[in-house]
Symmetry: C2
Subunit: 449 residues, 2 copies
């Protein structure tokens, strides 16, 4: 059922472009979904993609524009005139159009806006450009159906038919007063089963969730998920209805939020992608590497200071990588579980009960690993005291790493810092260094050095 892109199709399209057979190109592509055409254009070179783009109808290409990869879109837009871009934007919903305009350079932006044909639409788009992209205002669209509380159902249905023309999904009908202030909602279903003689005032639902234009997008996502909403109206400071956010606008916010933790854990920043330039990639990654570098310099000082100890007991030094890797793994595991617990609400703040659970896990794991280490050390090196010292240090370091792994994200969270940082390179390399210090301290104590 689903479309699958093929090498043959790509070659066929390239040949049609060479021969300038626009009619055949149109026939071939017109039946495809715009998301599929976007996939095809991603595979072509930019000039060919632009060629096809100009052949197809702007109603179709506008939607294609939204689905393309960023760099392909950027390059196609470069090859279009401001008037051609404006024609595309006239076909789009306000928030999609605003997102594309926001990607343009300042000069082009103004040129494109001045070429927009539909004045109302243009006003809405310009209005949306004012908002910060991480707020409700930045992700809302202007398309919605609203009716006045003083209308009858009959007037309402007539008005709705006009308004709904430009809207792909109605969801709710919002009810406003004469000053455009949001008062409540009507469901399309209710309207279907109500007599046309009724007054809106008598049938609308007065209770409804809304968000302000400056509410953060992640907060909007949280509210919509909690109350299981498919759309939420957005109001300005005076309570006037200015836009609407639908669940598909929020899906990206939810995914980005979940991916952010992964990126923090991996020491890359959110804005970086495989398709970015070497310079951008380096700028995103080098800072974390340098932080790690300076922290690990401390480890070299610690090792340097313990030279006498490992000169005497060689095995002390050769298990350092094992020790720091194990401590690192335990710490990251502990932090990740806390980060998740904070995100899904099963964990809200520090609790002694939870910490003691983590310490039990660390104790069990630590004991198993230390016993294995003791056995290995005894078999291979036959130095029982130093093996014992290393194993005991190992348990202590594991308990320490588990505690730190639990406490750091809780501490960060309490101080309004994203707790997922605790699973990233900064904290994990710090853990390394603390682990090594602790390890030598305890081992030397036991060995009487």
């Amino acid at each position: 059922m689903e479309f699958k892109i093929s090498k043959e199709l790509i070659t066929q399209l390239e040949e049609l472009i060479r021969s300038g057979d626009d009619h055949q190109l149109e026939t071939l592509l017109n039946d495809l979904h715009h998301a599929d055409i976007a996939e095809i254009l991603d595979e072509l070179d930019f000039d060919d993609a632009t060629y096809i783009f100009k052949v197809l109808d702007s109603e179709k290409t506008a939607e294609i524009l939204l689905e393309m990869e960023d760099d392909v879109r950027e390059n196609i837009l470069k090859r279009l005139s401001p008037k051609e871009i404006a024609e595309e934007l006239d076909e789009l919903e306000t928030n999609d159009a605003a997102d594309i305009i926001a990607e343009l350079s300042k000069d082009r932006k103004e040129e494109v806006i001045s070429e927009l044909q539909d004045v109302e639409h243009a006003k809405d788009i310009v209005d949306l450009l004012r908002y910060n992209e991480n707020t409700a205002g930045g992700i809302m669209h202007k398309e919605l159906v609203k009716v006045n509380e003083n209308w009858s159902v009959l007037t309402c249905v007539k008005e709705m038919r006009i308004q709904a023309e430009n809207i792909s999904r109605v969801h709710s009908i919002y009810v406003v007063d004469d000053e455009d202030r949001l008062k409540g909602r009507l469901s399309l279903k209710d309207l279907l089963i109500t007599s046309t003689r009724q007054q809106i005032n008598d049938i609308y639902i007065r209770k409804l969730n809304s968000v302000k234009v400056d509410t953060e997008d992640v907060e909007v996502a949280r509210i919509m998920q909690k109350y299981d909403l498919e759309a939420i109206p957005v109001v300005d400071e005076l309570g006037r209805l200015v836009g609407r956010i639908t669940i598909d606008d929020i899906v990206d916010v939810i995914r980005d939020e979940a991916e952010k933790d992964y990126q923090l854990a991996a020491g890359i920043t959110q804005d970086v992608e495989a398709s970015d330039s070497v310079l951008e990639l380096t700028k995103a990654r080098l800072p974390w590497l340098l932080i790690g570098f300076f922290i690990e310099l401390v480890a070299s000082v610690v090792l340097d200071g313990n030279e006498k100890a490992f000169d005497q007991y060689k095995t002390l030094i050769i298990f350092v990588p094992l020790l720091s890797a194990t401590a690192g793994n335990i710490g990251v595991q502990a932090s990740a579980i806390v980060v998740q617990g904070l995100a899904n609400g099963t964990l809200k703040e520090f609790s002694r009960k939870y910490l003691s659970k983590e310490l039990s896990v660390a104790m069990i794991s630590g004991t198993i690993i230390s016993v294995l280490l003791l056995i290995y050390h005894s078999l291979v090196f036959q130095q029982y005291l130093v093996g014992f010292a290393i194993s005991i240090s190992m348990i202590v370091v594991i308990l320490f790493a588990g505690t730190l792994g639990t406490m750091v994200p809780l501490f960060l969270h309490k101080n309004k810092i994203d707790p997922a940082i605790a699973t990233g390179p900064f904290i994990t390399t710090s853990n390394d260094v603390f682990g090594i210090i602790l390890y030598f301290t305890i081992a030397k104590l036991i060995l009487g050095l």
Copy 2:
């Protein structure tokens, strides 16, 4: 506007429960949204939560059940009779009811099903229990509006009003033939603006996406996102319409999928949570720790074998933690970017262009770090040749880690293994060991050992 839970409210509720003032409890809670009441019950002890649960109307409690934390729900269900549970399930949508039944023990499951009052509903629920939870069948619900292609719009509207009674969101109206095979769809909006004398056959849209009952849930999510769908019908092997999946069912799939990468990176398994028992947590974490342990034992063997080298040049050994941390960070960064690229489609397979980009990033970062290391080493230890040897090894190890970090996820992806494993403990500790081997090999070569 939004409800905020308070300590006062909790205390007040606890007092009302003690004094058995059910009426006051109802008044206090009836105005709240079920998601808010769920939050309150999460804070109470299980007996109090059950008490409130029994006081409130089952129409409300059924929805509350869905929003509660897993362990609270489990404990409340334990305190309810099969008949009481069945009363709750009668109020729920089929897929939500099936999800709750799936959590019960086998005996309770059958008891509860036999107590269900609405026979049609019960049949639908039992039907849903057959499907694997990670397939379209496992996440779909039975509630949908369908009309026969041979009806008139008038019959259709009448039928729809009946069917829509039990459905919170209509989205699309599906059109089936006499054998219940899915033929197409009608939009609610179209229906609003069509004359009642028209035939469904003349106005319905024949093209529509659907998925099979056994399509994987992540694939359903991908299709719905790609084609920007708010609902998708599910058909069985014979093309008969058996259910529907809406975007809110998919939001969880999308979030789980994004979170899974983070969990793999952190070396914990997907099924584990902060609220799980010590035993479950240990079972999820210990395997990764042991894998890391055995891999790092190799590092100890390598260090042991290079004893002569670092006896002669002490600084060789003290920079091992720095070296392995840097290599680890570079490797994880490289892998994470590839994993993301594969997930969002900007990267599809191995490309020389992308690898050379990664190598450029590694080369720039490696050079900067190595120069810093050389300066530090020269200033502190005044041994220029060994400083040079360490720095050169560092660059090589960084280039190697960048390459491995890029190639491993691509290789895993090609072999249908989740590439995010490459950012987890298994690969990162392996990188450590390879890095240490390479480091000593090159340093010894330069130093003529």
